[in-house]
Subunit: 201 residues, 2 copies
């Protein structure tokens, strides 16, 4: 089965609708998803940004919130503009990165996004992450795993891999090294993977 | 009939596929196009950029050329990466702005884009613009109109209007103050205009 790598950052606005809709889109197309959390901070820093470009460039930011509201309305998913943007996603990203192939991870990812962008909850707060884990019947002590040197190193390496793939924003989709950027490119990535799958048969 | 304002810059890469496909998409939807050339330079300058962000941020630029190649291949339109990017669009923009409601303008616009991005011709050169006008059987002396104080003032005012609408990039589509940014938002702008049209009936 052909795969789509889904590269996302929990603080990224357009990653929110992508995370909520990707499973249905990709499964309907007969493809598989590889979940790949990473951090945008170090990648933005390299471009000279110490904040989200949506904060640095107000006209762009103003448009983005309006555009996101239209997209969420179309998808019928809630949107509440976070009082802090972007939220620190380090804890959630480390945890997700460490457990990224576990079966409960896709729903955990969606719950973190819904907390941040649907309910304006502070996902940087361990209590918020614990409450999501509890809702998924996961043992709460796995949170400490996210703070282990190994989990930190794994997320650093994965962010490094994102950069090596040419990723400069989120969400991004990768199909055998071919890069697609933005929630609005999901369908193009799916079509690309399906074409690749056919040519491999 | 509901209208879509199409705001474009001749040096902008993603404006190229948008300019080539917009007429069919918009007419098929029973809508009308208002052609609105403007200059991105002054708007970028305000954001602190003295060049295209695709040049300032190499990872983004590298991705854009690849993405544009895929889009042009899907649309079956030629793409030859311009040896100079972005090209100075002042002459073409002034001319288009002055004559923007004339019936030959849509084809002129497409020909300028095809010259720049399909054949790597220097659209900053008056000779190139003259040859396009000639192909459209337009009197060549209209080029001097583009250099009149009135034509210069009109383009300046239109660029100012773009900024006032919240436009920060090209192509952009505007439906009754509602802003859509990017070639990939054309369909969303069309759907918006159709909904507006229905609710007005």
């Amino acid at each position: 089965m052909s795969c789509i790598e889904f590269w996302f950052e929990f603080g990224s606005t357009y990653s929110y609708p992508a995370a909520l809709r990707i499973e249905r889109v990709v499964r309907d197309a007969g493809l598989a998803i590889i979940w790949r959390p990473f951090l945008l901070g170090p990648i933005f820093k390299e471009q000279g940004w110490n904040d989200s470009p949506f904060n640095l460039y107000p006209a762009k930011g103003c448009y983005m919130w309006r555009d996101l509201a239209r997209i969420c309305a179309d998808l019928e998913i809630p949107l509440r503009q976070p009082t802090t943007f972007p939220r620190n996603s380090l804890l959630a990203a480390r945890l997700t990165c460490w457990f990224q192939t576990e079966s409960w991870i896709p729903e955990f990812i969606r719950q973190v996004y819904l907390a941040n962008f649907g309910r304006d909850r502070d996902i940087a707060d361990a209590k918020e992450i614990l409450s999501i884990l509890e809702g998924l019947n996961q043992p709460l002590d796995i949170l400490s795993v996210a703070e282990s040197p190994e989990a930190k190193a794994k997320l650093r390496a994965q962010t490094e891999q994102a950069r090596a793939l040419g990723i400069f924003g989120a969400p991004s989709f990768v199909v055998e090294q071919e890069l697609f950027w933005g929630n609005d490119r999901l369908e193009a990535a799916v079509a690309w993977a399906q074409r690749k799958g056919k040519s491999a048969v």
